[in-house]
């Protein structure tokens, strides 16, 4: 018995020492709002990204809303048209499927008015610039607010891009952190196993004692 214990302990120790508590083959997917589109990332928990993978988009009842494919970095975008819960599903093959939901409150602002407004605004700006071209002497005063609006829009786009760049590594880190298996959970699991088999042992022993 003692030898068996030593043998087991050695095996366990070797396993624990060699095993880096790190990543396994698990699919991770995340979605987030960016501007008026939904962006998402799909990859394996060991850092491989899912490239050129079909991502299907469904609503809550399983009706298909559309589909998109990931690029070389496992990145995809989807432009939502309705304010409903979006469910993204991807099949990475060999039993690796993933599903990720985007709840209502996480959705980007997409009320049709703003989309239409933006369009008309840019159209107006185009008209304005066309007008500026033809009649530069007239526009001096009227141009300034229009210009600043255009600049503002550009700035907003720039800031959005900057934030996106800054946040992406953080998001990755958080995803990686979620996947981390630290020593505590490993020891916890082993503890459960020991306890469970101890219980088995107890029950078996009781039965045996009752029999004898």
């Amino acid at each position: 018995m003692k030898r068996a214990g030593i043998f087991g302990a050695t095996l366990l120790f070797l396993a624990a020492a060699a095993g880096q508590p790190a990543f396994a083959h698990k699919v991770i997917a995340s979605v987030f709002a960016s501007g008026d589109t939904i962006e998402g990332e799909i990859g394996f928990s060991n850092g491989d990204m899912a490239t050129d993978t079909l991502v299907e988009v469904f609503d809550e009842d399983g009706n298909k809303l559309g589909e998109t494919t990931t690029d070389g970095d496992g990145f995809f975008t989807f432009k939502p048209t309705h304010r409903i819960v979006h469910v993204f599903k991807a099949n990475l093959g060999a039993g690796h499927v993933t599903e990720v939901r985007m709840e209502l409150e996480e959705l980007p602002e997409i009320d049709a008015a703003s989309v239409a407004g933006g369009k008309t605004q840019s159209a107006r700006l185009a008209e304005d610039s066309a007008a500026t071209g033809t009649a530069p002497e007239e526009t001096g005063a009227a141009q300034t607010p229009q210009m600043s609006e255009a600049v503002l829009e550009e700035n907003r786009e720039l800031i959005r891009e900057m934030i996106h760049r800054e946040v992406t590594p953080l998001r990755r880190e958080i995803a990686a952190y979620k996947e981390k298996n630290d020593l505590q959970s490993i020891l916890g699991g082993i503890g459960y196993i020991v306890g469970l088999f101890g219980l088995f042992f107890y029950l078996a022993a009781r039965r045996k004692l009752a029999r004898d």
Binding site: L12, A18, A24
Partner: protein, 208 residues
């Protein structure tokens, strides 16, 4: 190796669960009191082994060690591996709770097959021969497990050949490593504790 929730059709999940329950029941009945500690240790080993990563190219695969569990435990590998899988699903998110039955079947049934195929060899008089049989068992259990995973996926509608091929190819290094590891484990066990591989049904009198 772990199939995740939602990858399989309902029929496969239900059939797998039913078969796994049968296997676990049989395993518990065939588990003598003297083997309970060994089952616990192997369950814990299996639980931890999945965290050992073998890097191959850009990807990596992890050890399973179901061959070793099968050689030592026989049918009792079912409950031992079930416990390991359940805790992996809960703690690490490997696999899932609904597909627990299928995963148990995919991993424990090869272990039992290896037990029947290799137990004569492992019980052989020479420790080296036993170690070689142990190595064969370790590698064989991975082959069988990949086949089982491929079949599960195929029954759920995925093309069998590409799916199985993908799983098989990525696990070739694991086969080699598990074969070696199981071989050495058997050798070590034969040296320090020769009666570990004694038949389960036989009352292991000299165990303590």
């Amino acid at each position: 190796m772990h199939i995740v929730d939602g990858a399989l059709s309902n029929e496969v999940v239900i059939a797998g669960t039913v078969l796994a329950v049968g296997g676990v029941a049989l395993g518990l009945r065939k588990l003598p009191m003297e083997k309970i500690p060994a089952a616990g240790v192997l369950s814990a080993t299996f639980f931890v082994a999945s965290l050992i990563h073998v890097p191959i190219g850009p990807s990596s695969v992890h050890l399973i060690l179901n061959g070793l569990a099968g050689l030592v435990l026989g049918w009792a590998a079912f409950p031992a591996l079930l416990v390991g899988l359940l805790l992996q699903a809960v703690f690490f998110g490997f696999g899932g709770v609904t597909v627990l039955g299928v995963n148990t079947l995919n991993i424990a049934l090869p272990a039992v097959a290896v037990y029947y195929i290799c137990r004569q060899g492992v019980a052989s008089g020479s420790a080296v021969v036993a170690a070689i049989w142990g190595g064969i068992g370790g590698a064989l259990s991975i082959v069988l497990t990949t086949a089982m995973v491929g079949i599960s996926l195929a029954l759920s509608g995925e093309e069998f050949v590409p799916a199985a091929k993908l799983v098989l190819v990525t696990h070739i290094p694991v086969m080699a490593i598990e074969g070696l590891l199981t071989g050495f484990a058997v050798y070590l066990a034969r040296m320090v504790k020769p009666d570990l591989f004694a038949g389960l049904e036989a009352p292991a009198g000299g165990y303590r």
